[in-house]
Subunit: 332 residues, 2 copies
């Protein structure tokens, strides 16, 4: 029975499964970020090799008879070489060829066994793709925090911080976002302490935020959901939803029918945002997936000639889910 | 008769005038950026010394009997030391003490002889101040490109680029901003060339824009005014005006009556934006000034005990204006 390694290498974590050609997952691991663009080739390769080693160890396979390695990652279309990962994998006995795949394609196949449809992603960045015959044929947005990624975690977090500061600076009506931001950056200055007619808390917040890289403002996106019901927060969430709907619409065409798979940290964790998108696309079959590792396995099997019908797809999903559950602790 | 050097040291240029205590300007010069925060102390000092030398040369004063030097600049409240500029000025014979002044205070006094009122500035950044008894007593915004500066050149330019790209990426309706941006960054790829379903021009623009520092997107602000009548452009300009009105409102209080002076490259060059602000503040006495060098002279005279009434203010303005006119070329 042939064995495959399926990897989803993200910016913050790497997920790896060892799967057989009947769709049964034998091992699962989660290691540090393995995306060569955000982490660099060496660090990325080390995370991936560690994840593969853990899987082979769990499955009790020292010299793995692995038929193929599928590596899904952002930037797969830019980095076409595979030597940076094939050489270190070879060193631990995994000599099968590595195939790079688009991370959004893996996200899609994590959610469905179908071959046509759409992915809408909102994590730190945001983008949408159209998939036909199991391949990515169109993409929109994903243009980065400064020039695009409308409706992404950065986009929301940036506006949260701007709205919180504008209120503190008396340029806008009060909003709960201000107290949530003060709490998050641990600033206690009372809002009425004035420094040249400006609340001292404004300067204190600036001092903390300007030490971050701009893209790190994405961490404040969660405040928009926490402040549910606040006018400023709701306006940000609704505008984000509208942008994401526009991004999805940009790749939609009536001839291509199929499910819409939502992914990325923002859409995975915010039920409200995914609900707003579902409302705008009422006619659609919509699902949410947490990552692309199941899809990476689906692609691995298909590239090896396995016909991944819904039953096999369900088998991969179910066996992966079981392995992901944290091991039960010792009974007391 | 006492002589004063009045300097307005901006990020992109430094303006210097030599003025006597009757309000008559004897010399004017314009040199490179002289703001120590954006240019560094050494480069800033060199630009300022060059400007002073040019003025003394024009006036035929080798060993200047200058009674005082007033240096208006952004960040005057942060950089309180003056040694960095007094030492190099001393080396060319100018030994009078240097007083640092808030650049927005100088902008205000460039526009009016009154002692109470407001300044609204939109250049690369944006902020507003309230002035009472000739001093800055309250400030709003000016929080920098990432966290504030709502309605500034960066704010407008950033949105121009995002709107142009969103239309090219089929996430928004077509806008003239796209063709203007393509022209400005010199990208000729026809919009229908597709690279993985995305117009090739998008990638080409990203390649050019991601080599800029983010704040340099301010240079695209002018496209919003050039595309007058275009829906997307007009929406950006109207939102910018609303932000600037809010920033001004944040420092306004009914007890403080006085003129509103508009300054900064965006408000100086865009008649439309200043008109929108004038409409929102109909009751007000509004004027636009190009810089703070006249105001720097007003402050210099007042600090020396001269009572700068409207006639002296008008004399400084008129004589400075005359000196700024480019010298007539040789007759043919």
């Amino acid at each position: 029975m042939a064995l495959f390694l399926a990897i989803d290498a993200g910016g913050t974590s790497t997920r790896t499964i060892l799967v057989n050609d009947a769709g049964r997952c034998l091992a699962y691991s989660k290691t540090a970020g393995g995306n060569p663009i955000s982490s660099g080739l060496e660090v990325a390769a080390a995370s991936i090799v560690e994840g593969v080693s853990l899987c082979l160890e769990t499955a009790g396979l020292e010299h793995a008879a692995v038929s193929g390695v599928t590596l899904a990652m952002a930037g797969a279309s830019t980095i076409r070489q595979t030597g940076w990962i094939e050489v270190p994998l070879g060193a631990i006995g995994v000599t099968a060829p590595v195939r790079l795949e688009h991370d959004l394609l893996a996200t899609f196949h994590s959610g469905t066994a179908q071959l046509d449809g759409y992915v809408l992603l909102s994590g730190t960045g945001a983008s949408a793709v159209r998939i036909e015959h199991g391949e990515v044929v169109a993409i929109s947005d994903g243009l980065g925090w400064l020039l695009g990624d409308a409706g992404s975690g950065f986009w929301i977090g940036h506006r949260v911080v701007q709205a919180a500061l504008a209120a503190l600076d008396r340029r806008a009506a009060p909003t709960r976002l201000t107290e949530l931001l003060l709490r998050d950056v641990d600033v206690e200055a009372p809002p009425d302490t004035l420094d040249l007619g400006r609340p001292a808390a404004v300067e204190a917040i600036l001092g903390k935020l300007y030490t971050l890289r701009p893209v790190q403002l994405a961490r404040f996106a969660s405040l928009a959901f926490e402040a549910d019901g606040d006018d400023a927060a709701d306006a940000i969430v609704h505008e984000a939803a509208q942008h994401l709907v526009d991004t999805l619409a940009a790749v939609t065409r009536p001839e291509t029918r199929g499910p819409i798979v939502l992914g990325g940290g923002i859409l995975t964790h915010s039920h409200r945002l995914s609900q707003l998108i579902a409302t705008a696309r009422q006619d659609s079959d919509l699902s949410v997936v947490t990552d692309g590792v199941v899809g990476s396995a689906v692609i691995a099997l298909r590239r090896a000639g396995v016909d991944v019908q819904p039953e096999i797809h369900a088998a991969i999903q179910a066996s992966a889910r079981q392995l992901r559950q944290p091991a039960p602790g010792p009974r007391r």
